[in-house]
Symmetry: C2
Subunit: 199 residues, 2 copies
DNA sequence: AAAAATTTAGAACAAATGTTTGCAATCCTT
DNA sequence: AAGGATTGCAAACATTTGTTCTAAATTTTT
């Protein structure tokens, strides 16, 4: 049995190198880094890692190794959640953000910039970028992005979601604001995290 | 003058390809995608983009193109800030997180997991990962990570920083807690952002 | 419209890099 | 300690892929 630490070292070098350079290392790069004397050895390690499913590689191609479990996701920033304003006009995305899967993972993620203070007591501040997982349903207590129309106003907001007595409640985490109690809401997604940068 | 849209198309293909595959395309891949008939043409485009500073490439290397403005940074997660506990034991880092430069940029960044509620009114919650830029000094009002020793207790904490009357004040954003007024502090860095993921 | 400059193509070339092979070294089992 | 299995090395080999060159096509300028 081959020393597990060596394989780990190779994997983590590939990881680091790819991240620093934007492209993967060659077998010779791996040799140089890990003081391996033969390209065949490094080549062998890479193939073992492939068999173990720990990385992907296409035979023949140069520099075509890639980590199996990419530790990043690309997530589109698609607009702003503002009370009253429509969002999600699919074409107004403002670019992609690369996020660490260690923190944010799943399919159908997107980012929204939060406008307003309605969730301030949940630690969601004006200007924060929330990470949302697209889904049509939600459970009691989830923080969601939802579209509503209560006759008075309409739009998309981020609120805590509850169902009670057949009514849908969108609860702002701000004691100065009142709940929206609605007959119908459209859930756009569940808030699974956020990014904030201070000035 | 060469059609700007073509160059943009090449660049965005390189971007997309790299992201989908984990490694950059070859000139022949570019040809196939953009229906260019000669590798020399694609090669020429790539070189122009390089001259324009829009991407980096090393002559000779295979698949060695990379987007110039790498839109990510690798940031080490190096521990936990807990009142009373030492941090930054350089070897106990818990891995690297890739973050978008659009949100977090600069040199000497690191991540810390926050323990405790001392900054809850500033929207920094227990369990959040704060992005810290290493620096020895701070300005009034900055949120900092600092080491202190007031004779009663010592350790590293995250607090808002002030100087007044020759004293250093570490101010928790939690009305239930009191300020630390100190003769000396060691600033480890300034908090420039945070990540949070909900359960 | 002619001339000049630019862009693209086609093909050949050269270098980087993956792959294979045979053997030496090391480790493990008996 | 002997024998087999595993691992590592060195060198050659094969293929991918960047690069160069020349000429044709296209666009721009005069």
């Amino acid at each position: 049995m081959l020393d597990k630490r060596k394989l780990d070292a190779v994997l983590s070098f590939i990881n680091r190198y790819t991240d620093e350079n934007g492209f993967p290392p060659t077998v010779r790069d791996i040799c140089a880094e890990l003081q391996i004397k033969s390209t065949a050895t490094a080549y062998d390690y890479v193939n073992r890692l492939k068999e173990m499913g720990r990385l992907q590689k296409t035979a023949g191609k140069k520099r075509a190794v890639a980590l199996a479990n990419s530790n990043t996701v690309r997530v589109p920033l698609i607009g702003t959640v503002t009370a009253g304003a429509p969002i999600l006009a699919s074409e107004n995305y403002e670019g992609f953000y690369t996020l660490p899967t260690a923190e944010f993972s799943g399919d159908g993620l997107f980012l929204l910039t939060v406008k307003g203070d309605s969730m301030i007591e949940a630690g969601i501040f004006d200007g924060d970028k929330i990470v949302v997982r697209k889904q049509e349903t939600a459970e009691n207590g989830d923080i969601v992005v939802a579209m509503f129309d209560d006759g008075v106003s309409e739009g998309a907001t981020v609120k805590r979601f509850f169902v009670r007595d057949g009514k849908y409640i969108l609860h702002p985490e701000n004691s100065a604001l009142h709940d929206y109690i609605l007959d119908s809401v459209t859930i756009l997604g569940k808030v699974i995290g956020l990014l904030r940068s201070f000035r």
